[in-house]
């Protein structure tokens, strides 16, 4: 019998939040009637909710400020893209893109990389930093949008090797677009993907010169993780939330896309 079972903590909360199944109402009510301490606890939860609503409830009655009007922001959402794309292009052309991506690599660069392993590690660190910087960008995380067909042509030309953007929809990720960053030897392509929950994953790809190949290397910095590898003269880094298994699946799909680019379309 449903109403003979002992009352759980969850049911007390459900009772307060209006989520208790109807066939348990009587049981909870009689439990509270004979347990004044429990009834007091429930009363305090209700008082908390009332205090929260009293404190912030009226915000929803305030007139919406002009800067939050949908029409205004929709126009802005379209316009900012163009401004930023233009600004970024100009900044890039005059060489003003700061060089921060290569900053951490500068030390190693002067003495040449001792091993492909070192490159992978340095790139992973730089990619995590790039990832951290750009995922927080709401207004202009990328320079060129995914739906512009010249995106991959442009990146490929600058990187000096074919850049692919594999379909990662199986991993719940959709391509947003890309940008170009200064790299250790030549420009670095950054592709940004986004999941339905707003989480972002970036793929960076740059020329690794004559370096050989490495297995996937895992690096973690706080809540971000990255997998780096070198294959076929290109260094790759996948950076995202520090969920190794998920990034591993993404990395394998990218690997496959470069092995058989036409099949990955």
């Amino acid at each position: 019998m449903a109403d003979k079972a002992p009352i759980t903590e969850e049911e007390l909360h459900a009772f307060v939040d209006g989520e208790l199944p109807a066939d348990r109402m009587a049981a909870v009510e009689s439990y509270l009637a004979s347990n004044p301490e429990e009834a007091a606890r429930i009363a305090s939860w209700r008082a908390q909710a009332a205090a929260i609503r009293e404190r912030w409830g009226a915000v929803a009655e305030e007139p919406v400020p002009e800067r939050l009007h949908v029409d205004r922001l929709a126009v802005k959402a379209g316009r900012v893209w163009r401004k930023v794309a233009a600004a970024a292009a100009v900044a890039f052309l005059i060489g003003g893109t700061a060089g921060w991506f290569g900053r951490d690599l500068a030390r190693t660069e002067s003495t040449e990389f001792e091993s492909s392993r070192q490159i992978a590690k340095a790139l992973a660190d730089a990619a995590i930093e790039a990832h951290r910087l750009y995922i927080n960008e709401v207004r202009h995380p990328i320079e060129v949008r995914a739906n512009e067909e010249h995106l991959l042509r442009w990146l490929s030309r600058r990187v000096g090797s074919a850049v692919h953007a594999p379909d990662l929809s199986e991993q719940g990720l959709k391509l947003m677009g890309g940008r170009l960053l200064p790299g250790p030897k030549s420009p670095t392509a950054l592709l940004m993907y986004e999941g339905a929950g707003g989480e972002r994953v970036t793929i960076t790809c740059t020329s690794a010169g004559r370096e050989g190949q490495t297995a996937f290397k895992w690096r973690q910095a706080g809540e971000f993780g990255a997998l780096a590898w070198i294959e076929g003269g290109l260094a790759f880094v996948v950076a995202g939330p520090a969920e190794r298994e998920r990034l591993d699946r993404v990395a394998r799909q990218i690997y496959a896309a470069y092995e058989t680019p036409e099949a990955a379309k």
Binding site: Q48, R55, A86, A89, R139, H150
Partner: protein, 174 residues
């Protein structure tokens, strides 16, 4: 110059239409999370811009839960930023526009909320302030319902001891 190619203007869509009536609730929730009005409205604005721009990522489903998910992600990013620059954290402590609401014991409900772990505060606000079901709150946070319920339980326990913290404990007689 490739990067100068123009992005097309977003069309009038269901996200855009559905967004409008949800703005007051987004502002209310953001205010409770961020405390000062400027920061809170920045959060809402960024949420809206992002939603409008990411319309292609929204494949039906519940627009409200999706927007709240975006807002929470942005708020977490914001707090990470504050954590890296602790000197700025002081600013968000006071909302001069808000009335000095009090629970009667002289302890502010806002201070109690500020003391709990973010994911517990989020759940408590989603359920009590926004009136979301456990299912909706679970969708917003991307966790199972059981996690929502245990967070809620811990949040309420912590808030109660915070509010009653200075009262003399009544001796309990079984």
């Amino acid at each position: 110059m490739d990067a100068l190619y123009l992005a097309r203007e977003p069309a009038m869509t269901s996200v855009r239409r559905g967004l409008e009536p949800l703005i007051p609730a987004l502002r209310r929730f953001a205010r409770a999370l961020a405390r000062d009005q400027e920061t809170a409205d920045d959060l809402v604005q960024d949420t809206m811009v992002r939603a409008l721009r990411a319309e292609h990522l929204f494949h039906g489903g519940d627009l409200r839960t999706w927007l709240f998910t975006i807002l929470l992600n942005l708020d977490r990013n914001r707090r990470r930023g504050l954590a890296r620059r602790p000197v700025l954290a002081v600013i968000e402590d006071v909302d001069p526009a808000a009335p000095p609401a009090s629970d009667g014991t002289g302890r502010d409900i806002a201070r109690g909320l500020a003391m709990m772990p973010p994911e517990q505060r989020e759940v408590l606000l989603l359920v009590t302030l926004e009136g979301m079901s456990y299912r909706e709150a679970a969708d917003v946070q991307g966790v199972p319902i059981g996690t929502v319920m245990s967070r809620l339980s811990r949040a309420r326990t912590m808030l109660r001891s915070h509010i009653e913290g200075e009262r003399p404990q009544l001796r309990r007689v079984q």
